[in-house]
Structure formats: structure tokens, C-alpha cells
Symmetry: C2
Subunit: 320 residues, 2 copies
């Protein structure tokens, strides 16, 4: 969609349709309770949703698969530019529906990431340079071809796909009062917020952003998504150039204010998750937890807080 | 207990008493379903129980905590010789009940392991040499002191503690028909077998041993626990010098035959768990899964197989 088109949010029907489509193909990721007193949170229950155990190691498969199943998929398949979670998710989803995927990966991305994308059956094209170079190459290849492109976060089918995480969570933890989610482009945040609105309307969803990737925060201040400078430890998965228009609209409608966390809080949260829980998240996947762990977000007494651990695409143990 | 004493198995009451004691202190670790077709298992459901997300990264805290809570604990606290999961579990449990713990660690154990034991508040004594040197030093220190020792696997309170994993699992997956558990000294195997016998008597528990740590297999062939030569990739957590008498008795009574898996199957299973599920297990923790992943264990059509992933005390990613 163009910046001047009206923003289309997925409807309640779109969310439940997505759940029916992807259910039984994506994994129903587990939840479990940990003791908040281990990191200074008293008087509230803390439950983590282990979405990092999803296919390809992140929630992104939900949106990618929902988009392809909404079909029909053009004859030349699907194309994406990404060396990260989105590329792996598109490759995986394409394999599940049996269409070809061509993923353009910048040469500056670690070879292990390209290998991972290829391992799901996609054709990987390594493009000399950085992400924008890969993106340009993907667009050039797509010209004149009958090919689908899946936005990484700002399309109704993608947001509806990500919402299935929220629908699951509402079934698993019906007593949830607050849900903390990491927010990059905002596809997960928007989807989970819409899902909780349908299922547990008294709950709230709090997006958490790295201070150095404050795309939603910046959009809310500016009144619309704008380019934000991004960097820091979580930039590879959280560093969207701008928040999605859907995420911005959802945040505005719900009066949501993102919680911002510094890089050292993300690193400390990631270390705790590994050292004390044996959960190995990537920095972006640990960002929501960082808000709780660092005290940037403080639950009300008696609350049940669910924290989504959203990704695990890392090749390093904390401290190593 | 001495080798000539009759073997005492925990009673059903002992199991439920243990569950009441440790419930709410140990974590109720989650389960989730994965698609067996990803590794060639068709026609059966595959559910993994993520016990590696337990405190200290292994099930061992269940037995250690149950033992200390059965109390009273002598005034000088508790002592153990272990640089591994048992040492960490004893240290953690002692901290939870507020008694001092002194853990003797061999100097040949990686320093990171000693640091981990110390991080739970125990006094760590590094002893020059190998495990037997640490054990001798621990016994010497214990002489004339009022101090508790917790067996790593062959005591009724320990087995009753480990059984709480089985009681949990029976609630989480009441349709379980087979449970696969890694078997070193056999404390987990014995506990889970007794728990399933109480809760889901039509189910079966299958112990899985590395070919190079075949302690239960050797005991069943010999008619009693005997010293077995141990080695291989999982020896640090699975290399008990001999199977427990309790484990041997339980296996004999239930007509159980362990499944043996070679080291390369353990490595492949561990790699799959990380690459495809983002579960980072240690080799011993992946041993039960190796039986299913390698085809050494083949489920019956229509079965629901639960695989316990029992430990994550590793400092290496597969392939790194």
C-alpha cells in the first residue's frame, strides 16, 4: 500500500481466518511461569511465551504463511530481500505451500544466515553490499515476473498472521492482564493487540522498543511513521527503517505508549534468560523481557504479565 | 544404603508428598508438540517436555529439593562432590531451604561450571584432580561433621523428587502412551516410571542410554548394578559408574529394556533440536530424543510419544 492510501486493519474475521489457516502447521508454542522475584518483580505472576521455539526460530512464519495461504500465489512464486528472520520465514512458508521462493541476501549478512534460508528450500541470491542493495536487486528481479512479495510487517495478512500468537496466548493464559511484546516494525505488536482486543478486552498490550530502534515511539511523536535512525545490539531484527502504518494506527487507537529499553538492559535480559532459564534468545527476542527485567516496566500488584520471547536467531551464547 | 540392604522404592504416598513439597518452588516446565515428519516419524504425535528450562538447567533440583525438605537438615548443611548438574542442583536447593552447601569440584572440570555452582550461593572447593579426588575430599570434610549428603540418583527421596516430573507430565499430556527419558544413574527413569504407573498405568516409560554409558543395560544383563565403562559425548552427565539399585529394581519389575543410541545419533539429535527448534540441550539432555530422531525407537501407529529433554548445561552451540 502507498502512504496516501487509507490504512487497512485486519478485521476480527481476518484474525480467526488466519488462525484456521495456520493452525496445525505453525507450532503452538508453549508458555511457562517463572518467579519474578529472581529479578526483583514481586506481587505479580510472570509467564513467558516461548515463541522462539517456533519454526525458523521466530513468529515471522505466522504472517508469511497466512499471506501465502490467502493466495493465490503467482506462478513465479515469492520473492523477498532479507538475510534474517523474515527471509527464513518466507522460505519456510513457501516450502509449506509448495511454491518457489527466491531470497536476496546482502553479502554483509553472516553466511550462516544465508545457509539457514537455503536450508528451507529457497533459492538464495547473495547480493554484493548491504540490505538496500539486496532489496534493489529483488525488485529488479521481480519486474515483469508474476511474483508475490510479502511485507515484513505492514500488510493486513501479515498482521493477521502474527495475531494468531495472541489468540493462542489468550487460550493459554486467560488470566493475562498485560502482554509485553518486542516491537520493530510493529507487525507482532499490532497483531497481538488486535487479538487481545477480541479475546481479552480488559488486557493491555505494551510494545517494547530498543532505545536505539525507537520506530514506533518516533511515529507516535511525529503523528505518522517516519524514518528513524536505528542501531544497537538488536538492530538486525528490530531495526525497521520506519514503523508500519498499521502498527502506528493500532497504537494511536489504543493510546499505547511504547516502553524504551537501553542496549545494556537487553544484554542483561538475554543473559538472565540463558543463565537462569536456558532460553537462548536473540537480542530482539529478549527486548520485551528486558522491560520487565530492568524495571523499565513495572507491573501492578496482582497482575499476570505475559512476556513474548519472540526470536532466537543467534549464533552466540551470552558472555561468549 | 549399602549393597546388601534391601532396595527401598518410594511409595505412591512418597511421590505425592514430594509433589506437594516441591510444587510452586521448582518450575512446572512446559510441553509442546513438534511434527515428527520433520525427522521421519509418521503416524504418531511427538511432544517434548522442556525440563531443560528448569532451575539450574536440569531435573536434578527436584530430587535435591525434596530430600532437603524431607529434613531435618543437619546443622552443618549439605555437602556434595560434583562439578555438574548435581552440584548445581544441591547448591540451588540448599539456598532455597536456607542451609549452607559445600560443593567439591574437581580442578579438571571447566571453571565455568564451578562458577555456576557458586552463583547459587554454595561454597565451592576446587580439588586438584578428577571426580574421585573431589569425592574423597568431600568425604574427608564430612567426617565428624553434622552434614547431609544427597545421592545423585540412588535414594528414595531423590527418586520421589524426580517422579514429580512424571506427575506433571501426566497432567499435561494425559494421552501420553510412551515416555522417553535419558538414563544415566537412573533416578529420573525410576521416578518417572513410578509416577506414570500411578497416573497413567497403560503408558510405558522407555529409558534411553548412550551406547558408551550403558549402565542400566549392563545392570540388567548382569542381574544387578555393576561398574560399567563409560565415555563418549554424554559422559559428563550420563556417565554414572553404575546404575542405581532403585533404577535396576524398577526396570526389572517393569520388564523394561533400555534403548541404546550411538554418539553420532546424540550429536545429530542435539543439532536438530537447536537448528529446527531452538532448544539448546546438552548431549545427555538430548539422548532420549536421539532414540526417536535416529529411529532406534519407533513408535506404534497412533501413539502419543512424550520425550523429556532433561538438561542444558552446555557452553557450546552445535556445529560451533
Amino acid at each position: 500500500m502507498n502512504a496516501t492510501d487509507p490504512v487497512v486493519l485486519p478485521s476480527a474475521t481476518d484474525l480467526y481466518t488466519a488462525a484456521a489457516r495456520v493452525g496445525g502447521i505453525v507450532r503452538r508454542t508453549p508458555v511457562y511461569e517463572i518467579d519474578g522475584q529472581e529479578f526483583g518483580v514481586a506481587g505479580a505472576r510472570v509467564i513467558v511465551k516461548l515463541e522462539l521455539l517456533q519454526h525458523t526460530g521466530s513468529f515471522k512464519v505466522r504472517g508469511a504463511l497466512n499471506t501465502l495461504l490467502a493466495g493465490p500465489v503467482p506462478s513465479d512464486g515469492v520473492v523477498a530481500a532479507s538475510g534474517g528472520n523474515h527471509g527464513a520465514a518466507v522460505a519456510w512458508a513457501a516450502a509449506r505451500v509448495g511454491v518457489p521462493a527466491r531470497i536476496f541476501v546482502p553479502s554483509t549478512s553472516p553466511p550462516v544466515k544465508a545457509a539457514r534460508v537455503a536450508s528451507y528450500g529457497a533459492e538464495v541470491v547473495v547480493v554484493d553490499g548491504y540490505y538496500p542493495d539486496a532489496w534493489v536487486a529483488s525488485q529488479k528481479w521481480a519486474e515483469g515476473r508474476a511474483v508475490a512479495q510479502i511485507h515484513a510487517y505492514d500488510a493486513p495478512e501479515v498482521v493477521a498472521g502474527q495475531s494468531t500468537l495472541g489468540l493462542e496466548l489468550a487460550e493459554q493464559v486467560p488470566e493475562a492482564s498485560t502482554v509485553l511484546v518486542s516491537c520493530g516494525g510493529g507487525g507482532l505488536f499490532a497483531g497481538v493487540t488486535l487479538a487481545m482486543g477480541e479475546t481479552l478486552p480488559d488486557s493491555r498490550v505494551v510494545p517494547v522498543e530498543p532505545e536505539r530502534c525507537p520506530t514506533l515511539h518516533t511515529a507516535l511523536v511525529a503523528g505518522s511513521p517516519v524514518q528513524a535512525e536505528v542501531g544497537g545490539v538488536a538492530a538486525d531484527s528490530m531495526g525497521a527503517a520506519a514503523a508500519g502504518r498499521i502498527a502506528h494506527a493500532v497504537a494511536s487507537q489504543h493510546g499505547v505508549q511504547p516502553v524504551l529499553v537501553p542496549d545494556d538492559a537487553i544484554v542483561a535480559a538475554r543473559t538472565f534468560l540463558w543463565e537462569r532459564c536456558r532460553i537462548l534468545a536473540e537480542p530482539g527476542g529478549a527486548t520485551a523481557f528486558a522491560a520487565l527485567h530492568s524495571g523499565a516496566f513495572r507491573p501492578e500488584p496482582g497482575e499476570t504479565v505475559v512476556v513474548v520471547i519472540s526470536g532466537a536467531n543467534t549464533t552466540e551464547l551470552p558472555g561468549s
